[in-house]
Symmetry: C2
Subunit: 450 residues, 2 copies
């Protein structure tokens, strides 16, 4: 068997996972693995950028899991600063910005996400920053080190709130402006409201229901304020936390089929439905809900890693399938941990489920044990069957990761009654005798039958 070549476009989570997994399964004689990365880094933690900006993490280097040299030592050729400008799917060729025509037998498209940028005048001005690449983090750090005092964050999702928390930690006055009625749209409104109130209690100035109309610039053309219909919020920098769409320009131009979400249409093996020698993984690829089976686009590092690994396994000759997404996510703002998995009420509604919701209050530890804090757990169950559909968790230390118990139960397709009966751990430093997960599942089970 003559040597084949795998070309991977994009060297972040999905791309490097695919490259590494294919490499594990195929010898150098069998497969040449080349990764093209337009930026200077591969395999970095985009999720860590807010914490680097906030000095919670000490250095840029800590966010880089592996360098191109380390990959090279593992027989994976990484070409940083190399942009793929064109893909010829029929000829099996990728063209680089330098004009090289690189042939491939198997191609992985891992071009990642594109930060959402609404058509707001001034959004492209200096002083408006994404949170996408390490260079974004470096630029924001530069502005902070230069004495910035006020920041406006656009958007109230995970990245937006993490940036708000971390910027406040650096001593800035922080304003969060969001078009939605509440932050954390992936939560139910009652839970989102608690998050909103918590942000307020931290001294973060939150303006829900206000779409940004214009970024106001100073004489030098630098962003100095965000104007909404309700007011103008002066600042020294604007941070974009408006979510992430799929970066599919290259794939689309090449003729790869896109799905209903606008991301590259792949099956559970991560192979393109239109071109079977091409795989896609990560933020550029469409995926599907494990609960509804419907197409979905969820830009998260966990999925990028897993999908990349599936793509690399399949290319390496080992069968593998991606199991779908539950929509599990976690973050914290100040001392409030936020976790969610499965369907929110709006999602359950939209998917046509008859469902009930129950919300319980408990404590993270035995009530009498020091450090116990409140925890709010909301559970969605299918009416009649009692099948678990989703869960949302808010609370102090130890609250957020409880969402993994719900995620595992969802993954297995348990009913709320089954989850309520599960033998979970108890000791006073860790939970009340009935863990809040068990209590919420039990109450939800009862009401779903009722």
């Amino acid at each position: 068997m003559s040597q084949q070549r795998l070309v991977v476009i994009g060297g972040d989570a999905a791309g490097m996972s695919a490259a590494a997994q294919a490499r594990r399964l195929r010898s150098v004689d069998e497969l040449d693995v080349v990764v093209l990365e337009q930026g200077p880094d591969v395999s970095f933690s985009a999720c860590g950028i807010p914490y680097w900006v906030g000095d919670t993490v000490g250095s840029r280097e800590e966010l880089i899991a592996r360098t191109p040299a380390e990959f090279a030592a593992g027989d994976i050729e990484v070409r940083t600063g190399t942009r793929a400008t064109e893909v010829d799917l029929d000829a099996g060729v990728v063209v680089t910005g330098g004009g090289e025509r690189l042939g491939w037998d198997r191609l992985v498209v891992a071009t990642g996400g594109r930060p959402s940028r609404p058509p707001v005048p001034g959004l492209d001005a200096p002083g408006v920053h994404g949170v996408h690449r390490l260079a974004d983090g470096a630029r924001i750090r530069g502005v902070l080190d230069g004495g910035a005092r006020r920041a406006v964050v656009l958007g109230g999702g995970y990245i937006g709130l993490e940036m708000a928390e971390q910027l406040q930690g650096r001593g800035l006055e922080v304003t969060v402006v969001l078009a939605d009625d509440l932050p954390m749209q992936s939560l139910d409104p009652d839970m989102g409201l608690r998050v909103c109130e918590h942000l307020g209690s931290m001294g973060i100035d939150v303006h829900p229901g206000e779409a940004a109309r214009e970024i106001e610039l100073d004489g030098a053309g630098t962003a100095r304020a965000v104007r909404t219909d309700a007011g103008s919020y002066a600042c020294d920098l604007v941070v974009l936390g408006l979510g992430m769409g799929p970066e599919v320009a290259l794939a689309d131009a090449a003729g790869l089929q896109l799905g209903v979400t606008g991301a590259i249409d792949v099956d559970a093996t991560q192979r393109s439905r239109s071109h079977r020698q091409v795989s896609a993984a990560g933020d550029c690829a469409q995926t599907f809900s494990r609960i509804t089976g419907e197409a979905a686009h969820v830009a998260l590092g966990t999925h990028a890693n897993r999908q990349g690994r599936v793509a690399g396994s399949v290319i390496g000759g080992r069968p593998a399938r991606f199991g779908g997404v539950l929509g599990t996510a976690i973050t914290k703002v100040g001392d409030l941990e936020i976790g969610r998995t499965g369907l929110s009420s709006a999602e359950a509604e939209s998917a046509g489920f008859a469902y009930t919701t129950e919300t319980v209050q408990s404590t993270t530890r035995a009530g009498y044990y020091p450090g116990a804090t409140g925890i709010t757990v909301k559970v969605l169950a299918e009416r009649g069957s009692g099948r678990l559909l989703g869960a949302q968790v808010l609370g102090g230390a130890g609250a957020g990761k409880r969402v993994d118990v719900f995620a595992t139960a969802l993954w297995a397709g348990l009913t709320t009654d089954e989850l309520a009966a599960a033998d979970l751990s108890y000791a006073p430093p860790f939970s009340p005798v009935y863990d809040p997960v068990s209590v919420a599942a039990r109450v939800a089970g009862r009401s779903s039958r009722g």
Copy 2:
């Protein structure tokens, strides 16, 4: 329908759960509920006693969930200080220490556990303390307040290590003497060894493999040292942490059938197999492993609560079944969290499983995030099928409760591959991009196929 009477013998977790659940389902006209409790308290947290002794919890009252007066307000008659001395199963009568003959239509036996007391000379002397009742805690506190400086803990299980930690926290020199080769026999030896080393690093003097031969007394007959074959360990108090057997003297004398474990033989509805009008729940009752189906005796508050609730439901007319135990447990010593669920290697061996084990090292948070600590996860999987059989977790803050994810997967009967694919949560303050649970499950899945 004339009013019936439910008598519950024992007013702790199992008994009060049974009483409360039966009460919820049956009106006062239908059912009279009487609880006989020999001690002064009902519904207290025995698991909290070490933390009260250690001043981690401020007062005795905090350990009492509900008082007899509160139960009375809910139409449950609680008679504290009332010992049941005899049960006539045919006549449906219980005799109290005061000579009263109380008739019952349904009986719940919830007499709890009996701390193991090996036949060691001197074990009954003053200065040797159990950790069973609040009175035990009060006595130990009295000894500490009186200036005790050195303690010997007998036994290296959960209660023993929690007492060791808390006594050290009160400033005592603590020696742990155990007959087993390692503390935490419910863990595999390699994990138990890590616990043992951690205790040593905390300055707790651990002597594994030394059975206590004698409690040495002073002239006044008070315990002053524990002698083993290897030495004599002087102390001001001895604490018994040798585990808990079922307290079945009353049930056995009455003729209730006991199971192979020596505990009361009940089915999944918690009804006695020999006398269907009698239920038993909690530490006095036999239960079964959800994984092997084999009879088991596990004295834990979680099971007592759940089994009591099942007993009360069935008596109240609502079908219910206890789902079995996984053997989930959690504790901490110092800054080491310890969790386990399912079968240990010894248990898997004994149950006849062909199995593989894998142990992975990871971090509780993203490696670069402040507060990340090491976490060790060991997973057992059935060879061939890859079915998850058990897991053990050691690590810093956030490590222990991860055992609940394994417990949920075990409860659902997932394979390690299925668990490895589950959509668990990730953000840098909470885990690496692959949670340690996922990594351990993946590695175990691979080796179970190999």
